[in-house]
Symmetry: C2
Subunit: 370 residues, 2 copies
């Protein structure tokens, strides 16, 4: 395993342990695990989920849905408000998989009804407090109107209510995460109560990694859709979702210059590799990654006194103590845990496992391959 | 030109005008223009430079150098401290093009001397105030030692001193940009004076888009290496490098949801499309893009009262006035000027010209193609 350029390492063992942990938690809580595959976007990592009995998945674009459908997945939720411009792709997918679409605005229902050639499952996305998108949880007028339109459609099968608690990503307190989660479950159950007469099989689906990681007991919903847990990262560690030793991806970057006058190491590894996502520090500085050391069977926890503190397009600046600075020579590889594994994986476009296998990422495949 | 998914539009006419403007400025100032191709990373856009007589180029990785060498470019500077782990690629390139490498630390010189099979041009990178990397301009001991090692090497041909004034990107005042530029030119000329006895043909090369855009007269150097000017963007407009009507790339994103209660439009277009680069606003809010309107022959200047204000992985939130909000319907395309065109192009992986042609971007090509 000779690394010469910026490379994203994947520790298969840690990753499979993360998968098993969430599979078992879902099983204990009698929930369907519909993992979000946008984090890894890899057919091979997907197989590791299949080996644990996972059958239903979540994706964030129709292109991603097509990719995983081509790899044998047959129960796919596209967890973004449906893009009515992609009816051709939707029809292709709906002809061969159980496709779940997300509706937020009632005006899309007649467009779908008119354009679809096959039945699809439809979920209403409910805004339970994140305020990115979704029907506000107590906006009954919109929900009534949208559900009546769906009920009248022969192509749309109403499946239930789904929410994404993206606001848990701003928390670092387990109590705050629990409070957000409980509020969401309560709001979704109120909706189920309201509509169960007309739709007796309504399901409830939630999805954020912080809630799914920090809560041992999850009740009142039917399905969870966490994604990031497959790799975790420094952001999730900061939130409290994982320990450092659960982070399953690590950047490997060549040392290309050293600045002894300020104990800074320049790496080939910039924003086109890590992404520009940042973990602001209490002292106002920026953290783009933490340095670990490679051992026989993986990497260590982060080392104190050496951090990735700045990124331009292809350069990164690692700031170190004099002791740490002395450990690195030009031509060495430096190993760095990423702040946001989803975006780093999307930027890197492939993985190298610790036993030297290349795994693909959808973003590394040309358009025509998918 | 039916757009159904996030797409990066390229206005060929604006782009070619930007190219001609810089070619003419270099010619008037008797400078070699060695444009940085990391912004576009496209063989086809490269051809537009060739048509204007450009023969020398800059890139930021050896992979990028190989890509453009494969497209007939024969004079290539890799403007990042040389990665000694990539000697194989360096030797391949040095056998077929005039390859310019960057040295910052003296310890890389013997590694190159030992590993190279062909002659290469070598530049010392000088830190004239940006403090990312480079030999501090008045650190004569390091410069002396490094140059003596280079002089003793038969493989390394010392070409001159180069600098990148990345700190101009933090300015919005033409006087400040001019002051940074003049300081850099002065420091580089002091170095040329010091070493011209031993190296009579020393060249000086500088490179930032703000200086090269805002200064009409550039004297005291031999070469300029701006990159971003080929497309420009909102960041460069903010700095004062360009007008809005010079921005040559524009994102086209489907409208997938609307929130009348807060005049927010949800688009398919997130951080994996725009990158996470941001232009912080005076009121503390974040700006990720500005909305324009598509006309017959291109797009308008930004419209007031409607901006891209938030990005997650695949979703973007556009905040509008009630009047602007009313102009968009689900299934429309919304057109958005990017904050940082280099990173947006790298994320998008290809271009669609206004006359419907697909142009490639290196990041959209599989590893084996390059």
């Amino acid at each position: 395993m000779k690394i010469t350029v910026p490379t994203l390492l994947l520790d298969k063992e840690k990753c499979q342990r993360n998968i098993r942990m969430m599979v078992e938690k879902a099983r204990r809580n009698n929930l369907r695990l519909r993992p979000h595959f946008k984090t890894h976007q890899s057919a091979q990592v997907g197989e590791w989920f299949r080996q644990e009995g996972v059958e239903a998945i979540t994706v964030s674009s129709l292109r991603m849905a097509r990719y995983f459908a081509n790899h044998g997945w047959t129960d796919i939720m596209v967890a973004i408000p449906v893009n009515v411009l992609e009816l051709e792709t939707i029809n292709d997918l709906a002809s061969r998989v159980r496709l779940h679409l997300i509706v937020v605005n009632e005006e899309v229902v007649p467009i779908l009804q008119q354009g679809l050639h096959h039945k699809v499952a439809v979920w209403l996305k409910i805004d339970t407090g994140y305020h990115r998108t979704g029907i506000p949880a107590t906006d009954y007028e919109t929900t009534d109107n949208t559900l009546q339109k769906i009920a009248a459609s022969r192509k749309l099968e109403f499946q239930g209510f789904m929410a994404h608690d993206g606001h848990t990503y701003k928390q670092t307190d387990a109590e705050a995460i629990r409070a957000i989660h409980k509020t969401t479950v309560e709001l979704l159950n109120q909706l189920r109560e309201r509509y169960k007469g007309q739709f007796p099989t309504i399901e409830l689906s939630i999805g954020d990694t912080p809630s799914c990681s920090t809560l041992e007991t999850i009740v009142g919903v039917d399905e969870i859709r966490p994604g990031n847990f497959v790799f975790y990262d420094l952001t999730q560690q900061h939130i409290g979702s994982n320990n450092y030793n659960q982070i399953a991806v690590c950047m490997a970057c060549p040392v290309i210059a050293k600045h002894p006058e300020r104990n800074e190491i320049i790496i080939h590894g910039g924003s086109v590799h890590f992404s520009k996502d940042v973990l602001p520090q209490p002292d106002g500085s920026n953290l783009f990654g933490r340095v670990v050391e490679l051992a026989e069977n993986g990497w260590s926890d982060p080392v104190e006194g050496i951090n990735l503190v700045s990124l331009s397009q292809e350069h990164g600046i690692v700031k170190a103590t004099p002791e740490q600075f002395a450990n690195y020579t030009i031509g060495d590889i430096i190993y760095i845990l990423p702040v946001h594994s989803c975006l780093t994986a999307d930027s890197m476009k492939s993985y190298l496992t610790l036993d030297g296998k290349r795994l693909e990422h959808l973003s590394g495949l040309p358009e025509s391959f998918v």
